[in-house]
């Protein structure tokens, strides 16, 4: 057994497996149209822009900014800690490319809109799932 905290995990399909397993090598990937290079999230079978079915997962930088957030205090379901910072982050690769996630490795009171963040993963290795989470961007 791994020591990963309890999470309700995604149902893995052929379409989403590359997304949820992507963190195995520490890299975040999204589906991308190989014809027009449009990033697609959530995963689909056809590019909404050019209708091509030629889609593949490609790495993104893992850098993002907090588009909005909430400090969640309510225990809706088992979670590792309360309160926690739920956020929608937006990626520089494409306007409107967003992911709902949590902000970790900082105090919840420090989370703010436009905060630069970078991806980190919570490993559920037994399930081949690496949940992408975000932490304050480390200045090199």
């Amino acid at each position: 057994m791994s020591d990963a905290p309890f999470r309700v995990l995604p149902r893995i399909t052929a379409r989403n497996e590359p997304f949820w397993a992507s963190g195995r090598d520490g890299v975040l990937r999204f589906q991308r149209c190989q014809q027009c290079k449009y990033w697609i999230h959530p995963h689909n079978v056809m590019c909404p822009q050019c209708l091509s079915k030629d889609l593949a997962y490609e790495p993104v930088s893992g850098k993002a900014v907090v588009h909005t957030f909430t400090i969640n205090h309510q225990p809706w379901m088992p979670v590792p800690e309360l309160p926690f910072a739920l956020a929608i982050v937006e990626f520089p690769e494409q306007e409107g490319l967003r992911l709902t996630t949590v902000i970790v490795n900082c105090k919840v009171d420090d989370v703010h809109v436009d905060m630069p963040v970078q991806v980190t993963f919570e490993a559920h290795e037994d399930e081949n799932i690496w949940i992408p989470m975000f932490e304050p961007e480390k200045v090199a």
Partner: protein
């Protein structure tokens, strides 16, 4: 020029069952109580009803979300139907009523019974909200998440509360909206609920009480969240040609809005501060010569208080980003003396989460002058009923003056 299809339809009657925090009654009984009252309110009998429209159809998830579907009601009342529709995937809860208008205008039915019932209060029992959430108290942990839940359950956010909270936070960021402003939606609702004999919460609440309530998901506090309850609501959509057969003067459907022009998602929608309400509202105003300033009473969804703020802006009752200043102090939205009396029954925040249909029920009640102690002074002749949040939105503009 052909008649505008909305003008072929009227609302002829409304009904509502007993409403309570936890009634522990058979939910089908609540459903049928509302339906029968609406039929009689219109001056009709079950033999006259030839259509049914409902949201969300039968279903058990989350527990208490539906007190019955088309089949339950058709069989209970032995209705002969020319048209029927029930389901979840439509422009908000009132999308079912708008579907009924389409069916009547198309001639598939003459009198459509529309209903929505819930028993979320009893379903939660004493276990509270967590009892009906995935992995929570009374339920088996669901093994895996799919659909939109794929993107939120792994992060511990199964409720729309944190999703809407993030929209509110973005609004606060872009427009400087404050907790004191947001709180006026809840304070106004509570004040009106005190005059509604069916309301759940009627104790006086000040803005200080609101600010002292616990944070659920910032910036939303406990009193920004509606209260689960048990009850059923119904109304009849009738063809304009049947007006001579009706018991009461009809409420005319002047315009409806159902548009969804952004992505159907709680986190990918382009402008999270407006949601789909932007599109449904804009479409509604393209279908009428009336203007927002003609509206004398507004019943607008408050599953979470911020959604009402977004509806105020979307419907043009104030400018984009200006709902905070508009509601500040509460005078503009007051039942007495307000430029736009708002949620005169107490909204879902204080009168109970009857889920969308209660806003249309209340708009009709006000336009018929049947509001009793909570009647808007001067008897309004034009009102709106708006329901939905996130990617779900449907709106109706109603009048007795045409």
């Amino acid at each position: 020029m052909a008649t505008k299809p909305e003008h072929l339809t009227v609302i002829s009657g409304v009904g509502q069952s007993d409403v309570g925090r936890r009634l522990y009654r058979d939910p089908l009984e609540l459903t049928l109580d509302a339906c029968v009252e609406a039929i009689h309110d219109a001056g009709l009998t079950t033999a006259d009803i030839d259509g049914i429209a409902t949201y969300p159809g039968p279903g058990g998830d989350p527990p208490g979300f539906s007190g019955g579907g088309v089949v339950d009601v058709q069989d209970a009342l032995r209705l002969n139907l020319g048209w029927w529709s029930g389901g979840l995937e439509r422009p908000g809860q009132l999308g079912a009523v708008i579907d009924a208008c389409l069916a009547v205008a198309f001639g598939l039915a003459t009198h459509v019974l529309c209903f929505r019932s819930v028993f979320e209060g009893s379903a939660q029992g004493e276990g509270g909200r967590a009892a009906v959430m995935p992995g929570g108290g009374g339920r088996q942990a669901i093994p895996r998440a799919s659909g939109f839940m794929e993107w939120v359950l792994p992060y511990g956010a199964p409720s729309a509360a944190p999703w809407i909270a993030m929209m509110a936070q973005r609004h606060f960021h872009e427009f400087g909206t404050t907790p004191e402003q947001l709180g006026q939606i809840a304070v106004n609702a509570r004040k009106n609920a005190a005059l509604n004999p069916k309301a759940i919460y009627t104790d006086p609440m000040t803005i200080e009480d609101y600010l002292n309530s616990r944070v659920i998901a910032s910036p939303l506090r406990l009193f920004d969240c509606d209260v689960p309850c048990d009850g059923g609501t119904a109304m009849i959509v009738s063809h304009v040609d049947t007006i001579p057969d009706l018991r009461k003067p009809p409420i005319r459907v002047e315009a409806v809005g159902t548009a969804l022009r952004g992505r159907p998602s709680w986190d990918q929608f382009d402008d999270l501060t407006t949601m789909a309400l932007r599109d449904a509202s804009a479409q509604l105003w393209t279908r009428t010569d009336m203007k927002p300033s003609d509206v004398q009473v507004a019943e607008m969804y408050d599953g979470f208080s911020f959604i009402t703020m977004a509806w105020l802006e979307a419907m043009g009752f104030c400018g984009k980003g200006e709902s905070g200043p508009f509601v500040e102090g509460g005078q503009n939205i007051a039942r007495e003396g307000g430029v736009l009396p708002l949620n005169t029954h107490g909204g879902q925040l204080s009168s109970g989460r009857l889920h969308g249909f209660s806003f249309l029920h209340e708009a009709c009640t006000q336009l018929w002058g049947e509001g009793g102690a909570r009647q808007v002074p001067g008897n309004p002749e034009v009102g709106v009923a708006c329901a939905g949040g996130g990617p779900l939105a449907g709106a109706l503009l109603l009048t007795t003056s045409r």
